[in-house]
Symmetry: D5
Subunit: 92 residues, 10 copies
């Protein structure tokens, strides 16, 4: 099942830099692992913002929440979820 | 170049039904033509709303506007455009 | 799968009264049919507004959209959908 | 009497971790106690967010406020309350 | 039980004037009847707007909704309801 | 002259607890003093929020501002003021 | 007593032109009468919008509402009222 | 003096088509005349919307308002004006 | 040229009190100097908020920005600027 | 390709002043370099705010994001991007 997910990242300015770099590296590793697994089907950067637009393909809401809430940067993200249904004019 | 485009359709309640059906048929034909041409790369329905989330792949802003502004239902849509850049963690 | 759905109804003031009454009767019949079928698990009125808060239990986004978009009053409703996951502190 | 309550949790990033874990454990214990008592009738996680949608069944506004304002995470939550009336099309 | 209710009235500009005057007269009669009955405890005009701030004292959400949804001007009002609990510093 | 005033209290999470308790006690004393004096005519808690809805009866804007801006918790409150006029359908 | 009042005018596109011109002429006459009387102390156009920023000097909320609600264009205006107190740094 | 002006055009769906085409032609002629005169220094289309972002260079607020409020499509536009000052890092 | 300027002051709760008092004293001195010079033509307190509504009369946008951006409390203010044109119904 | 970009700068009040001055100097140097290179075609200050309106002329979304996300003040800016297409009435 598909979901459009937008994530805005807001890093506190006084956060420890080393911790931040570690979190970012973990986030990247996790994002790539999920892409390879097929759950994180698309990942795009919103031009000009520390934000992304993503398409997830997962079994259900529980799996989506399990994935998003364990992202290393989850505590610093504002996330919006839009459930996507098949469009009657889509050809794929 | 990629754009995330969301379209909310708002049909006036007193619109002529025949005209509306004709516009919808034209919209569907145009949407499928653009998908086959590769410009309208993804088209999903927002569950529960007369709205869609789409990904367009076009040469530039002018081509995007030319496509969107000539959609048959354009006068009845509220459209938001987000330019998408490559994400550093994307694997594709 | 569960979804929290809020529906705000906005009836145009110049709508034909007979048509409106017919639509309302059809809406009620459909809502009760879906409740009996188990898809529309809860239906509450928002006190003071022509609106409701509902819980739907359906197979997937497509079924949710199929149900909502064919409600007789759908063209006159502003609908918001929130996908609900299991809460770790829920006891049921 | 029924209320739909949404709670968004916002934990300050520099909060003491031990204190946070203690608060979360207390919150969970309290939530389960209230569910067993029947006041907190439903508790769902909003997929992708540190938030929940809940249905409370209490005697009056005072009881609702007494419950919500003494939740261990109350100081870190943004809460919205919607009073729910019986819907004329509800079958239960 | 107390509720703070704000009502914004929006009259369509092309509404029949006679019908509007009749509705306003009925609204006034109903408002005064409810004030005398004690349900509509306070009624104030928002200075500069066709709007009011009101305090209702009713048995429960159902009674509140029954009252508000049968006001003659209900179809033309945007209503917000805030449930009021006893304040610990109130002296009355 | 009457004003509807809503106050949302937002206490910084790292505030000194002793100072906070002192401010709250002072706030309560001041609120009760003003209620006894007749300026703070009504004080209700917004169910589920650290917020109140109040009705003030004062000579003019200057007196209202003098009262509100010297409340002990004023620096931590987001305040909205609505001037109330007499409603033509009010019976009191 | 002073109030800052902003008025946004929204004329329905299908309004009778003759009626509109008559209302505008009456509005202008009334605005000038109130300025000469000293109640409408300042009247400025918001550059680029069919809107104004005004300062009213009246006895109380009732007088302000009586003035605003009888403006000929009142049914077509969205009005916001801000009560103004004396500023401690003002020299006048 | 420079102003950034954004204009969103909202054409009522039941507007007479001939009148609309005439207004659009007049709007275009006026826009080009003002560009040639140097007052309308830049005019860009917002991709995907019936809207523009413009830079005006005029003597003062009065001239700006005189220009904008006499645009043929002014009654159908939602306009936002941002006064632009010289930026200390600008090199032109 | 006239501008309506609203300023909301937001003082961080952990700011050094001595520094804050010094900034406030400087702000007051500067505000009075600018009022005497005629640039800051009106200065009113928004009743109930740490905010003001002001009218500035300056040569151009650059002068306005130079004044506002050097106010001692500028880093703690949220400022909105509205350019004011002459109103056709104004009598002054 | 053209983009309208607005940047709001929000400096945390407890930021180290020396670091801030260094970042500002670097931001200015980078802004001027990009203007000379032709990518940052216009840069204006929003009068009264620590904000700018800019026009960028770059090859694509990726170049825009590369530029914006490496600005020294990027972590402290709220950025909005509007893709600009050619306007049919533009004469340049």
């Amino acid at each position: 099942m598909l979901y459009c997910v937008t994530m805005e990242v807001r890093i506190p300015h006084d956060m420890d830099l080393e911790r931040l770099e570690r979190l970012k590296a973990e986030e990247r590793a996790r994002a790539q692992e999920l892409q390879r697994a097929g759950s994180w089907r698309h990942l795009w950067r919103v031009a000009g913002r520390y934000a992304n637009v993503s398409i997830f393909d997962v079994a259900d809401h529980d799996e989506l929440h399990a994935i998003l809430s364990t992202l290393p940067l989850f505590p610093f993200m504002d996330i919006a979820v839009t459930p996507l249904a098949r469009h009657p004019s889509a050809i794929d």
